[in-house]
Each structure stands twice: as structure tokens, then as C-alpha cells.
């Protein structure tokens, strides 16, 4: 049985073959070991975060949403714990994308495609679906036997299949369900959804994500990685000779022989490889490849073959890590009798780390010092200046105030420009002359038309700068914008 998956024997030698190649179904065997444990841990963490995060509460005061992570599309706000972003601040997402990209580069230069093997959603959900399948249909051999069996379907087998797909669909459905909870108050939405009062768009998204999760994790599996995902191609260009990749140490493993023969030859004092050709590494591989053929596009660096081979090595009393995270340089060095060297700190990793720290630092600084009162000013363009009947000159501005705090505020506007200029806000009767005050609701913007008039005797000859200071009367917070006052 094991033999059948040796890819070397499956090459169509000199045969033109059919137009298409049907998928060779992979039956990964269960395995235990350190990398499997890391994978279980990361899976629990990632899925836990994904499914439970919408229910985490975060107190932002009265009237503000109290969901820790919320994408509030109708009001164009993004909430992430203590962070609240406005549409004017989308550049934070640019920063986030840069950090994410460089973090991928860094991972790649340290451990190759570890993203693919441990954290990629496709891997995580496929792994979960495999676990379900294994639980219900049994391990590799059993599943292969069941699939190959030409017997008419027995009731037992049918119920197995139904159960498996039901659980898969349940997971997929909950995956889609969790997705929409990020866009609305989760407890409310759950209540609405179960009573069929939820918004149509929520049901549509749940449907889409249910279908894609079920299809990608249940059926497409490793084919997503090999045929659909561009990352394997890109990472080949990012990786270098020092990156640690899952590597079969052929210097130690070759020539392969059986356990018995190896013992005999060793007794005679002959040089034998440690690989006993048991195909355990192939049996557990979720992409169905043989790592002993060297680095391959399909390998997602999950490390499961390392666990499998370690188990074998322990059993036959040989040192573990015949397959390990290593690189070709070290194999060369060992063959030359030199000790292996590992370089995590290299120019490449230093630069990537520095970039992450720099961009992350800038973002954090911007976030911590971000103003909660903003003012933007736009000068009227047509007419740019107006002469009044007494010869004074007036310029008009559109002033936009942003109150990013969770309460109403009284804002005073001071204009510092032409001498003795008067200031008027359309629709607002100033109590204090030349210091119009207005109230802006919490978490809102206000657009005002502001008229600045310079008396005839003070008419500036040419354009002079004007500063608009907006002050929160209560808190004393100030924001300033600068524009020009122009003579006709």
C-alpha cells in the first residue's frame, strides 16, 4: 500500500497521458511529536481567537459600542480594543499591511514557509477537517480501505459519511457565522440570526463562507497550496541558503536499508544509512510528497514528517532528527566533516526586524499621540475673495470639525489672520464677538461655512496666512489648521 504513493513510480514515463490529471487523494496518517503539539496549540489559539473574539467586551463609555473588535461599516468606524479609527485614518491599515508583509519575509528568512505549515487559515482549517475525518473514519489505512472498497454501501458506512459531512458543515457554518459577528454587535446579531431577523447581507456572507470553508478545507485541501496559492512561488524567491527548511539529511540517511540488514552491516563495521525506508514520513505528509526527494514546491513546512521519522528513529535506537529544520549548507559541511552552523542573525533578518520595529513604532506613536479633535479648512475658490459695500474684504472657508470623543463638546473657533478681522459662522449667532462657538455631537463631524472679513483700512495687499484654532472649551484641547486670506 505504502508503495503506491511513491511519486517516483507515478511519473508517466514517456506517456502523453490524458488531457487532465485526476487528483491523487492524500490520506495523511496521524502522528504525534513536538511539531504536532505546536500545531495543535497554534490551531487552538488561532481558532479560539477567531471564534471568540467578537464576544469580548470593551468598555468605551455610554452609547459607544462595547465590542472589543468591531468593523462598524454604517458609521465608518473601526474599533480594536483601545483603538478607534476613522475613515481619515486608513493609513494605519497601510502600516499594518507593511508590517504583515515584512513579518512574512522575516518568517521566511528564518524558517522558510512556516506561515504555510502552522498559521495559514487554509492549513489550520484543513488540519481541523482532517482531525474530524480521522475521528470518524479512522486513520490512514482504514480510510484507504473504506474508499477502495467496492462493496455496496452499508448503513454503517453511510452514517459515517453523513456524520463527517454534518460536522464539517457545522464547522464551516460556524466559521461563516463568526465572520459576520465582526461587523455588528455580536450578542444582538446572534439573537437576530437565530430568530431569522438578521440582515440579508449577514445570511449571504454566512452562506459564502460556509461554502468556501467546506469546499477548501474538506475537498480542495493541499491543492489550494499547490495550484491556487501564489505564495509558494513567491517564497522561493524570498528564501536564501541560510533559511531553515524541512530537510531530509541524506548525508545521514543514505543508503536506505531495512532494519535487519542495517544491523547486520553495522555489525560488520560497514557504513549504513539511518533511513529504513519505512515511508512513515510520506504517510503523514498532508501534501502527499516524499521529503527525501529534496525541497519541493508542495512542501508546506509543517514538520509532521520530522515527528514521524523521530518516532521511527527512537524505535530502532538511532539518533532522532534524520529529517529536521536544516539547510543544504550544513549537509555539505557535515559531509566535509565540519560542524554545522546556524545563522539566524543575518543582514536580511536584521533589516526585516528593524523594518517591523520602525513601522510598528511609528504606528504606535501616531496612535498614542493621535488627536481627538481635528480641523480641516478649505478656501472658497470661486470667488476667492469678495469686496463688500464698505470696501472691506471677505474670504469664505469651509471648515470641517471632527470630534472623535464619546461626548458632545463645545468648540470655540479663533481665527488669527488679518488685523481686526471679524469672523462669522453661517447659521450661528456668536455670543462672543469674533469667537464663534458651536456644539458638535460625540463621534461626529461638523461642516461649517466660515466668513472672515478684513476691514477696509486693514485690507491686506496680498495673500497672508490665516490660522484657525479650534478649542474645546471644557478640556482645553486645541487643533489648528492653516490657510490663506486673499485680496481680490
Amino acid at each position: 500500500m505504502n508503495k503506491a504513493v511513491n511519486p517516483n513510480e507515478l511519473q508517466p514515463e514517456g506517456d502523453y497521458g490524458p488531457l487532465y490529471a485526476s487528483r491523487k487523494k492524500v490520506y495523511p496518517q496521524s502522528v504525534s511529536g513536538s511539531f504536532r503539539r505546536i500545531k495543535w496549540g497554534l490551531m487552538a489559539f488561532c481558532l479560539g481567537v477567531y471564534y471568540l473574539l467578537p464576544f469580548v467586551r470593551w468598555n468605551r463609555g455610554l452609547g459607544a459600542p462595547n465590542q472589543a473588535v468591531l468593523i462598524d461599516l454604517p458609521n465608518s468606524r473601526f474599533y480594536f480594543f483601545f483603538i478607534e479609527l476613522w475613515p481619515q485614518e486608513v493609513y494605519y491599515f497601510t502600516g499594518l499591511l507593511i508590517v504583515a508583509a515584512v513579518a512574512l519575509f522575516l518568517m521566511n528568512s528564518i524558517g522558510g514557509r512556516i506561515w504555510c505549515g502552522y498559521l495559514c487559515p487554509q492549513t489550520v482549517w484543513t488540519d481541523l477537517f482532517y482531525a474530524v475525518e480521522r475521528l470518524i473514519e479512522g486513520d490512514r489505512r482504514e480510510r484507504m480501505k473504506k474508499d477502495a472498497s467496492a462493496d455496496p454501501m452499508k448503513l454503517e458506512r453511510i452514517s459515517e459519511i453523513v456524520l463527517k459531512h454534518s460536522i464539517w458543515l457545522l464547522i464551516a457554518w460556524w466559521t461563516g457565522g463568526a465572520w459576520v459577528l465582526y461587523f455588528n454587535d455580536a450578542p444582538t446579531l446572534v439573537k437576530e440570526l437565530v430568530t431569522f431577523q438578521g440582515p440579508m447581507i449577514a445570511y449571504i456572507w454566512i452562506g459564502i463562507l460556509t461554502a468556501t470553508t467546506y469546499l477548501l478545507a474538506g475537498y480542495m485541501r493541499e491543492q489550494v497550496c499547490t495550484y491556487m496559492c501564489p505564495w509558494p512561488r513567491i517564497q522561493a524567491a524570498l528564501t536564501d541558503e541560510w533559511a531553515l527548511n524541512v530537510t531530509y539529511r541524506y548525508d545521514r540517511g543514505e543508503k536506505r536499508t531495512s532494519v535487519k540488514k542495517a544491523a547486520e552491516l553495522r555489525a560488520l563495521g560497514e557504513q549504513v544509512g539511518d533511513c529504513v525506508d519505512c515511508y512513515q514520513c510520506v504517510a503523514v505528509c498532508p501534501t502527499g510528497i516524499d521529503i527525501r526527494n529534496g525541497p519541493q514546491l508542495e512542501c508546506i513546512q509543517c514538520g509532521l514528517c520530522i515527528d514521524a521519522c523521530d518516532t521511527v528513529m527512537k524505535k530502532i535506537g538511532r539518533p532522532t532528527r534524520l529529517i529536521a529544520y536544516d539547510n543544504d549548507i550544513n549537509i555539505q559541511r557535515r559531509q566535509e566533516g565540519k560542524p554545522p552552523i546556524y545563522r539566524i542573525v543575518r543582514p536580511r533578518t536584521v533589516i526585516y526586524s528593524a523594518m517591523i520595529v520602525a513601522v510598528g513604532g511609528i504606528m504606535l506613536y501616531a496612535l498614542l499621540t493621535r488627536s481627538l479633535l481635528d480641523v480641516n479648512v478649505l478656501h472658497d475658490r470661486n470667488p476667492i475673495a469678495v469686496k463688500l459695500s464698505d470696501g472691506s474684504i471677505r474670504n469664505a472657508y469651509t471648515v470641517r470639525l471632527l470630534n472623535k470623543r464619546g461626548f458632545d463638546r463645545v468648540i470655540a473657533i479663533d481665527v488669527d489672520g488679518p488685523v481686526n478681522a471679524t469672523v462669522h459662522v453661517v447659521g450661528v449667532d456668536s455670543v462672543t464677538p469674533d469667537r464663534p462657538m458651536i456644539v458638535i455631537g460625540r463621534d461626529q463631524t461638523a461642516e461649517l461655512r466660515l466668513l472672515v472679513t478684513a476691514p477696509a483700512e486693514q485690507n491686506p495687499e496680498k495673500s497672508i496666512p490665516v490660522h484657525f484654532h479650534v478649542t474645546d472649551i471644557g478640556l482645553g484641547e486645541v487643533a489648528t489648521a492653516t490657510d490663506n486670506f486673499v485680496a481680490p
Partner: protein, 290 residues
């Protein structure tokens, strides 16, 4: 088949026989799911041809199974939009002009609506930002021929000036020269007198007393004592710094000789009441109004 390709010795696979710069293409079959997806898209496309309008015929086109048309769907969208806007416009129609200006939400709505309507209807004469032009008042300043309060602006927009509407503003600047009321030298004199009213320099040696006399006899009836103007008649204030047609001597002589009678059309009946209100509020807010 064999003459098309050969075996690649490195991979042991057959090639397609295609070669570029010494690089040969391996004959790697497509995955089956990929091919199935490809066929499905073709089937989908055929379905699309049948369901939606697609094929041009000689004088028309296939209409599809359900008679879908982009024009019809646009009409539906527009109707929906009207329904949404209708509510807001109703609020505008109900509120008085003063109430609109005092309510920030209504003011914002009126200004937004007013700006687009102004752009469509008024901008050809008054300019896109209402900056005006010779003969067309600048609506951003504080000088108003027919009055600058909200109600006065509304009235002017509704009925216009010399528009022929029953309720329109009347009032003409007479052609004193053409009609032979004043002689050319009298016109020069009174033109200089008018310039002096707003502190503009006058021609040397002109007879100010004679100018005042001519002005009192002919112009005060409309422009008022001292030329302060009269909004009832649309007679401009001649003592300020704003001139509709220009303040130089030649222009003033032309104005006095030929007369002026610019026309502002009436918008009543052409635009609905809510829109007219929005326009009035917008214009009033441009320069802060009176």
C-alpha cells in the same frame, strides 16, 4: 503522437515539443478540477447569453429570458432614490426659511441641495460659486439690489426681476440720453457727480453743484436722497464700493444714456417649493446674508 515530443531526461517526463530559447515545455497535465472549473465557466457563459440580453440582431437585440434591461434597473434605482430623498425634502418644505437656517441638519441639507440646484440653474449667469459678472450680481457680498434678507431672496428667486411674471420685481434704469431727457454734457456732469458719491475721483473742473441739481431732479426718485438706493425698485446704492456694471466714467455715461434692465427669470413653477427654499437658503448663506 511521438513525433511531437520527446522525453526530458532530467524529470523523466514527456515534453510537448515546444521549445523557447532552449527551454522545453514539459507535458504536465492540468488538474482535473481546474478543467472542470473551466468547462463550468463556459456553461455559465452560455446560460448568461440566454438569460441576459446579449446578441445584437439586425435592428434590435436578444432580450434575454426575463427582459432585463439596464435602463429599467436604472429607473428603479432612481425611483428608490426619490423615495429616500422625498422624506428629507418634505422636512425642508415644511420648515420656514428661518427654521432651516437655525437647524444644523436642515441647513446642511439645504446647502447641499441648493449648491447642486444653483449649479444647474443659476451658475450660467451668476457663476459656479455665485461670484457674478458684469451685469450679474455677485451673491457673496453684502449688497442686494432687491434686498438680502431670506424672504427677499426667496421672493427674487421665485418671481425674478423684469421676468414677466405677475409678481415680478419691476423697476427700470431709464435711458436718459437715448430718450433725450438729458443732454450729453449733462450726462457727463451727473456721471461725475455719481462717482463723487462713493468717493471716486472726478474729472477736473466739473460742476458739482450742477451735477447735484441734475441728480436731484432726475435720479433721486429711484435712487433716493444721497443715492442710497431703494430695494423696492431694485435701484442700487450708489454710495458703496460695489458696482454691477462698473464705476468708471465711460461705463456710467453708457448706463445713464442707454439705461439698464437686466432680467432675472422667475423660478416659481419651474422648481418645486422645497428646492426653491434650499436655493434661497444656499444663496443667503453664501455671504452670510443680511
Amino acid at each position: 503522437m511521438t513525433d511531437h515530443g520527446e522525453i526530458d531526461h532530467v524529470s523523466g517526463k514527456s515534453t510537448t515539443g515546444h521549445e523557447w530559447d532552449g527551454i522545453k515545455e514539459l507535458n504536465t497535465p492540468l488538474p482535473r478540477w481546474w478543467l472542470i472549473t473551466f468547462y463550468l465557466t463556459i456553461i455559465w457563459a452560455i446560460g448568461y447569453w440566454i438569460v441576459y440580453p446579449a446578441w445584437p440582431l439586425i435592428s434590435t437585440n436578444t432580450t434575454g429570458l426575463f427582459g432585463y434591461s439596464t435602463r429599467a434597473s436604472l429607473a428603479v434605482e432612481l425611483a428608490n432614490l426619490e423615495a429616500v430623498r422625498g422624506e428629507k425634502m418634505a422636512a425642508l418644505a415644511k420648515a420656514s426659511l428661518a427654521e432651516i437656517e437655525k437647524d444644523p441638519a436642515l441647513l446642511a441639507l439645504a446647502r447641499a441641495k441648493g449648491r447642486t440646484v444653483f449649479g444647474d440653474n443659476c451658475a450660467p449667469c451668476h457663476g459656479s460659486g455665485a461670484a457674478g459678472a458684469k451685469g450679474f450680481p455677485n451673491l457673496n457680498d453684502d449688497d442686494w439690489l432687491w434686498g438680502g434678507t431670506l424672504d427677499q431672496i426667496m421672493q427674487t428667486i421665485q418671481y425674478g426681476a423684469r421676468s414677466g411674471h405677475a409678481k415680478t420685481h419691476e423697476g427700470q434704469m431709464l435711458a436718459f440720453g437715448k430718450d433725450g431727457v438729458l443732454k450729453p454734457d449733462e450726462i457727463v456732469t451727473v456721471a461725475n457727480y455719481v462717482r463723487s458719491l462713493s468717493g471716486l475721483p472726478t474729472r477736473q473742473g466739473y460742476d458739482a453743484a450742477k451735477g447735484e441739481k441734475i441728480f436731484t431732479e432726475n435720479c433721486v426718485a429711484c435712487h433716493g436722497d444721497g443715492g442710497k438706493g431703494n430695494a423696492e425698485l431694485g435701484a442700487p446704492n450708489l454710495t458703496d464700493k460695489i458696482w454691477l456694471y462698473g464705476s468708471d466714467e465711460a461705463t456710467l455715461i453708457e448706463t445713464i444714456s442707454q439705461g439698464r434692465s437686466g432680467v432675472m427669470p422667475a423660478w416659481d413653477g419651474r422648481l418645486d417649493p422645497a428646492t426653491l427654499k434650499a436655493m434661497a437658503v444656499y444663496v443667503h448663506s453664501l455671504g452670510g446674508g443680511k
